[in-house]
Structures are given as structure tokens and as C-alpha cells.
Symmetry: C2
Subunit: 297 residues, 2 copies
């Protein structure tokens, strides 16, 4: 489950609530494309902006419509007590695995992060992916902390941030982390613009934002890298360079991918929770042209 | 209300819920000391870790026990829809003003922050303090954005992060901000170790963490600065240097002040929500000695 292309769909919503119809259509699109797993309620799924009731509803819909494809559920929250409830709810919904970032308001200390994973994995019966995302959590994992957490029961994967575009540096990064963790733990790359580099450097999985909306485009890169066609994977990724540049310009992938889903008519506009805004004006026009030129699908 | 010493008490809690008795005792302590205002559900009040129901309860207790001292309520949340509900709840509880940071999971863009303040102030009938806290929100205000927001209705104060320890630089910082905003907007300093510098440089208020647990100690510094005794304010602050160093060592003021309240018997242990931990071991021992040596009160 924690290998290959793990596609992270948006959770379309507006100020009145979830857009369940659009969410189900996104899930069905991923099933049709045959992604390797579906990661719901990740950062792209806007887990942090939803109530527990809304999150439980999203998981129910995802499991109902995902067919045989394993569903991974984000269970992070600011408080340990809430994470424990969300873990129970995820198990009750019938997901196959869970994903958790050390979400913070007060930046967490390493011992607090370890304590959080220790408490949660003790209560868990599903495999867990450690979500290392300093951009949203403000927490930077050391490899030593990754090692301690990776030895806890149920830990099965680590979702790491972008690696270097230099193949030697990227491979060294992955090898250094692998030397710290048990052999059964998979490593997945995130930061879409870094995915080909990460997969080529030996990552087992791509935890993918564009895969949630354009699964065929993301699968093409993934399958090339898995087949050892490193140059082809790089070429396919470099073709998308203007998209990676838009991500950087608009504070990350979320606003751009949400706008792309709107422009493609996959979700209604707006689909993000305020105060977050999708692209408008010139950025949106550029994206509209890009989607067609790059033939994203 | 947005001038002088604004004391920010902890909201003591554990995994079972709020410790209402301890919270009321903290409020009463601030009333006895005659602070100028009480800021509940700030970062120190752990607003981000509480449900809406718990937050409403905290406001009710604060207003009931604050006597004639104005209560300022933190109303921030990740979603605009939740901030609007929290603003309504704060007004219903009878607070005198509100405080809002641009809390984020996805780091916000300047237009999103402006949109948030515009929407919230439109719905508000109480004065609002803009809470500029890049340490927890990951958002850095420009003076131009401060200016746009300060011109919105109901905006009455700006809570700024630490200023330079160099008096000329600190004064330049305050004067630069003041040149951007209407004359009726007060400026308040936060970052306790920077309070004397900020007040001496012309800040109108100190939004104070130690003031929430040790109001007399914080009032002494505030009153010296307000009387123009800049050297005395600095001396009193420098005396607390070992405490400011502990703050830096433990990722900010919260864990240290919570531990101090526990050590003084003002709250039960633990008083922070997991995954947050108060100090243990050697750090706690050092703090215990410090509280006595510095005669904090």
C-alpha cells in the first residue's frame, strides 16, 4: 500500500460544507486510472480545516468508492486526544492505513513528537505512514528521530519532503535515511516537482498531489521510474516544469491544483475553505493555458 | 483597553478537559494585582487546542471573574467560518475586545490574510487587536499590509513580535510602523524578554505571558517604563534574563510559564494539552530555583 503512486485528492468544500458529489467523482477518477493507493485527508485533502464529523464522512465516501484500491487516511490534529479519536474513526471507516504529521500550533520539540507517535501507535491496529512535512508543521525531523519512530509498532512508511535535483545528492539522502530505519519501512517522496528525482534515487512511493487530480500524468512518471527508465521519468517531470514554478509562486501545490480542478470542471468554484483562495487573474489564465498545453489528465 | 499591561493567563487543562477552578484562580490573581486588561485564549491560553464549546466556557468564566478589568478574547481559527462563530461567541460572552492571529496550516498569502481581517471586522462590533506572531502562524506581516488592515473598521491595536535590544533600532521600528497606521491604533509588544525595550521605544502596551502568572513582576516593569524610567525598566527586565534564556531553550515561553505555574501550585500538573509537555528533569530544577531567586510574584 505504501509504494508506487499514492494519489492525494482534494476534499472539495465551500463555506456551507463538503461537496460530496465532487469528492466521489475525484475518487472514481483515481479508481479508473488504477493508482496504487488513495491518500485522503492529507494536506491536499485539507484535513486541518474539517471537523471530526466531516472527516469521518469523507473517509466513509472514500472507502465506499475506492473499490479494491487501498485508502490511506490522514489522522493528524493539534491535540493527541483528537488524534486518538480520529484514529478510531479511521479504523471504523475501514481504511487500510493511516498517515500522520506532527501538526503544530506551538512548534513541537523532538521528545513531544516522539511521545505523540508512541501514544498513537500504541492505540493503533493499522499501518502508519509518518508524514514529514516541515512546510506545514514547522517541525524538522532528524534521522535519529525518524529511526526511533520507525521502530515503533505499526510504522510502515515515511513520507519525506523534496530531495535534491542532483542525482548523487538525492541518492545519498535516501541511503542515509535507509541506514537509520528497519528494512520493512518504505520511503515515499513528496513535493511533486521532486518526485522523479526521489523515485530515481530509490524511493518506494510517490505521495502525489497532482496524482489526485491528474492520475494518468502522475502514473506515467511513476511507471517510468519503477521500470528503471530514469531519463524518461526525468523528461516527463521536466515537461511539467512550468507547473512546478506555479506551485512555488503560489505558496505550494494546493492553490494551483485546486484551481486546475476547478478549470477542468472536476469541482465547483470555490473548492477551498476560506481564508484560502484559489488562483485568480493572471495566474489563473496562465494555469488554464498550461493545463491544455501539457495535456494533463 | 489596548494599553498598559495586558496579562495573558494560561488555560489550565489536561486530557480530560479544562481545569476551571485553576483558571478562575488565575483570573482572580490578575484582578488582585490590578493589571490593565486580561487577554484570554491567546497563544498562552492555548486557544488552538480547545473546542468552540470549551472556548465559550473559558470566556464566560473570565468575564464573570474579571470584575472591572476588560477581557480581550482570542478568536483565531484555521477557517474563516470558525472565526466568525468564535467572534459571535466572544460578543455573547460579554468580552470587551478581541484578538486575532492569521492562524495557518497552509501558510497564508498576504491577500488571504487581508481578506480574513476584512471579513471578520465586517461582522464585528468589538474592537480588534491584530496579532502578529510569525512564530506560530508562519506569516510575516509587511508594514504595508499592517497599514491596510489598520484602516479596517474596529481595528484598534497591533500586537507585534520582539523588537531589537538596541534602543535606536527599536525606536526606529516602532516609528516606521506608526508612520503607516492611523493615530488611534495602539502598538503592543510581545516576547516578554523584549517588553522593556518595546515599552521604552514607545509601545503603548505589553501583551505579556509572565504577566498572566506573575502580574506584580510584570507590572513593576510596565509602570517603570510608563513613568519614563527607562533604565529602571531595563534593569528589572535584565534581572529576569535567566528566565528569558529558559524561554529560548524550550521553544518559547509557554512550556516554561506552565511549569512555573505548576511549581508554584497555581495549577495542577499537567496543565498543558498533549503532545505539549511542561519542563522535566534538569530544566525543571533550574526553573524551580529561578522562581525563588527572582522572587517572581
Amino acid at each position: 500500500m505504501f509504494s508506487g503512486l499514492s494519489a492525494f485528492p482534494l476534499t472539495p468544500m465551500n463555506e456551507r460544507g463538503l461537496d460530496e458529489g465532487a469528492f466521489v467523482r475525484l475518487i472514481e477518477r483515481l479508481v479508473t486510472a488504477s493508482v496504487d493507493s488513495i491518500g485522503v485527508l492529507g494536506s491536499t485533502g485539507n484535513y486541518a480545516y474539517l471537523t471530526k464529523t466531516e472527516r469521518a464522512r469523507v473517509l466513509k465516501l472514500a472507502v465506499e468508492h475506492a473499490g479494491n484500491i487501498p485508502v490511506i487516511a490522514g489522522i493528524a490534529a493539534l491535540r493527541t486526544r483528537d488524534v486518538l479519536t480520529l484514529a478510531e474513526n479511521a479504523e471504523a471507516a475501514g481504511v487500510s492505513g493511516v498517515l500522520m504529521a506532527p501538526m503544530s500550533y506551538q512548534k513541537l520539540l523532538p521528545e513531544e513528537v516522539f511521545g505523540l507517535y508512541e501514544t498513537v501507535t500504541r492505540a493503533l491496529s493499522l499501518p502508519l505512514c509518518v508524514y514529514d512535512n516541515p512546510g506545514t508543521t514547522q517541525f524538522v525531523f532528524s534521522d535519529e528521530l525518524h529511526a526511533r519512530i520507525a521502530h515503533l509498532p505499526h510504522v510502515a512508511s515515511i513520507k519525506i519532503p523534496a530531495v535534491s535535483g542532483d542525482p548523487v545528492e538525492a541518492r545519498l539522502r535516501i541511503e542515509r535515511l535507509r541506514a537509520h530505519i528497519p528494512a520493512h519501512i518504505t520511503i515515499g517522496i513528496s513535493g511533486d516537482g521532486s518526485a522523479a528525482h526521489g523515485l530515481n534515487a530509490g524511493c518506494d512511493a510517490w505521495y502525489s498531489v497532482i496524482g489526485g487530480v491528474f492520475p494518468s500524468t502522475a502514473l506515467e512518471i511513476t511507471r517510468a521510474a519503477q521500470a528503471g527508465n530514469t531519463q524518461e521519468a526525468l523528461r516527463l517531470s521536466q515537461r511539467l516544469q512550468p507547473l512546478w514554478e506555479l506551485f512555488a509562486e503560489y505558496g505550494g501545490s494546493l492553490r494551483v491544483i485546486a484551481s486546475a480542478a476547478e478549470l477542468r470542471g472536476l469541482v465547483e468554484q470555490p473548492c477551498l475553505p476560506l481564508p484560502l483562495n484559489a488562483l485568480s487573474g493572471e495566474g489563473r489564465s496562465r494555469l488554464k493555458i498550461l493545463i491544455d498545453e501539457l495535456n494533463l489528465s
